[in-house]
């Protein structure tokens, strides 16, 4: 169709009648299950609970793993752990990147939750950066309406 004709139709308000328009969101047209292990963890988050599972050597892994990395055994002995724990390692991000979960300076942390043997990675937001040290106690701050994603834990906060 010539450009002149399209311009004519536009002026006459006829474009909308002529062209079908529909909003389109680019994404997968299917859903997939996260399975019995990752799904157990994510469903737990939705209820503000944190689940891990026991590895072949009995250690409690949080978040849970589908298979033991050493023995390759499927793992399904689930254990609920606390949403509070201790910082095992940390780094301070003075200048957060746009993709980061916090717009204000924060710490990435490895946290060993009470009841877990393996530490998980999340972040701590605080206005007292000097209190972010290895061994410090932290507790999860949950979003108001969890949906079953790792971001249901808004961040961890330092315990008083």
């Amino acid at each position: 169709m010539s450009i002149l004709l399209v311009q004519f139709l536009r002026v006459e308000g006829l474009v909308e009648d002529l062209f079908l328009q529909k909003e389109y969101e680019l994404g997968f047209t299917y859903t997939r299950s996260t399975g019995p292990v990752v799904g157990k963890f994510l469903t737990g988050l939705k209820n503000k609970k944190i689940f891990g599972n026991r590895g072949s050597d009995g250690r409690v892994i949080v978040p849970p793993m589908e298979y033991d990395p050493e023995t390759f055994q499927p793992l399904n002995d689930f254990v609920q752990v606390s949403d509070a724990g201790m910082i095992e390692s940390w780094c301070w991000v003075a200048e957060p990147r746009p993709a980061h979960p916090s717009a204000v300076p924060f710490a990435w942390v490895m946290i060993k939750l009470d009841g877990a043997d393996i530490s998980m990675i999340h972040h701590v937001v605080t206005d007292e950066p000097s209190r972010v040290v290895t061994g410090a106690r932290v507790k999860a701050s949950w979003i108001d309406q969890p949906v079953g994603l790792i971001s249901d834990i808004r961040y961890f906060v330092l315990e008083k």
Binding site: T34, V38, F41, L42, G55, I61, V62, P63, M65, P69, E88, S89, W90, C91, W92, V93, A94, R97, A99, H100, P101, W108, V109, M110, I118, S119, M120, I121, H122, H123, T134, L149, I150, S151
Partner: protein, 353 residues
């Protein structure tokens, strides 16, 4: 190995902070031309197999590596393969191809243009898709968590990390392809502000654009081409779990396993080129490999002086090859890594031909 495998040619571009308007094919072409010249062939039709390493995430397009094949002139059809990994693993595949008797010669290359994107964030998408990738934890922050564990446990000190950087920059003065070089003292480096604590910017490899290429072949082919060569007497790799909490991040278990599998004999290594994207990781590798003081570590400056994603691992092998052919070394070790905090490690042993 039943079949003697020889490295006969290597070329690497300069590590550029920004390659400007040059696309990936334009980054690869000069290196391919250079290795063709070194063995006296005219194009990819003159080798039996071609394997490349690159990452679609860096270009931000599916099957972007196919455009790299344009650099080869793949008509009439050639035997070609690709790894979504550093080209050191493309080298590994090419070695298997020759050892199986399916090829006598192979061209291997790796390339990336990392500058247009935000590399540390792009790399976050290689992590666990439910637990970590949605948090967008970048590669530098993960390395910082690893360094903190080492510092807390007294395994290293900040000055040890700065000494690695100082050595890298000093060695890189002689390396025309390097991006960062110069004389820096440990105290100068420690005066720099923290970046992602405990790391300073100098502890992190720079972001670089570029490519490298290599030709390997059987010994009889090397003699037919009548070119100097180094023998690739061993190559192997091991990977650790993707669960960072389950790994002992202060050491490199997988590197130890490869070293044992290959019997690297660290007491008879003239040089070692290690792919340590962060200063403290070089200290982990030196310890895991039990390197001796007599071994010249990263004479090129290593990747702290310039880090070509998807090519740096192949380049470590190339740097050892160059020094063996030049007569500066008779036996050397090359290391390549992939994944966060040295998750996956490859070693190659090279000897004078």
């Amino acid at each position: 190995m039943d079949i003697d495998i020889c490295i006969v040619a290597f070329s690497q571009s300069a590590c550029l902070a920004q390659a400007g308007a040059a696309n990936e094919v334009e980054l690869i072409m000069p290196e391919l031309e250079a290795v063709y010249r070194q063995v006296g062939i005219s194009n990819a039709q003159d080798v039996d197999f071609v394997c490349s390493g690159s990452c679609d995430y860096l270009q931000g397009a599916a099957f972007a590596f196919v455009s790299g094949v344009d650099a080869l002139g793949a008509v009439p059809p050639i035997q070609e393969s690709h790894v979504e990994m550093d080209a050191a693993w493309a080298l590994y595949e090419a070695v298997l191809k020759i050892r199986m008797g399916h090829a006598e010669s192979a061209l291997v290359y790796g390339f990336s243009k990392s500058s247009p994107g935000e590399l540390p964030i792009v790399l976050s998408q290689q992590l666990d898709p439910y637990y970590l990738a949605p948090q967008w934890i970048d590669s530098i922050s993960l390395a910082a968590l690893q360094a903190r564990l080492m510092l807390d446990r007294g395994i290293i000190e900040l000055s040890d990390m700065a000494a690695v950087v100082a050595s890298s920059r000093r060695c890189a003065i002689e390396n025309k392809k390097a991006q960062l070089s110069g004389q820096f003292s440990v105290s100068d480096l420690l005066k720099e502000p923290e970046y992602v604590s405990p790391l300073r910017r100098a502890d992190c490899s720079p972001i670089s654009d570029g490519a490298s290429a290599m030709i390997i072949c059987t010994k009889s082919k090397a003699e037919e081409w009548n070119v100097p060569f180094a023998r690739l007497v061993g190559i192997d790799h091991r990977i650790e779990t993707h669960n960072l909490g389950m790994r002992d991040l202060t050491t490199s278990h997988s590197t130890r396993l490869v070293a044992e599998a290959l019997s690297i004999h660290s007491d008879s290594l003239d040089i070692a080129e290690l792919y340590a994207p962060f200063s403290h990781q070089q200290l982990i590798l030196e310890k895991s490999l039990e390197l001796r003081p007599e071994t010249d570590i990263n004479p090129s400056g290593g990747v702290l002086a310039g880090n070509l994603m998807m090519a740096s691992g192949l380049s470590r092998v190339g740097e050892v090859f160059d020094r063996i052919v030049d007569g500066k070394a008779s036996r050397g070790l090359a290391h390549a890594t992939s994944g966060p905090c040295l998750q996956h490690n490859l070693l190659a042993i090279l000897e004078r031909g």
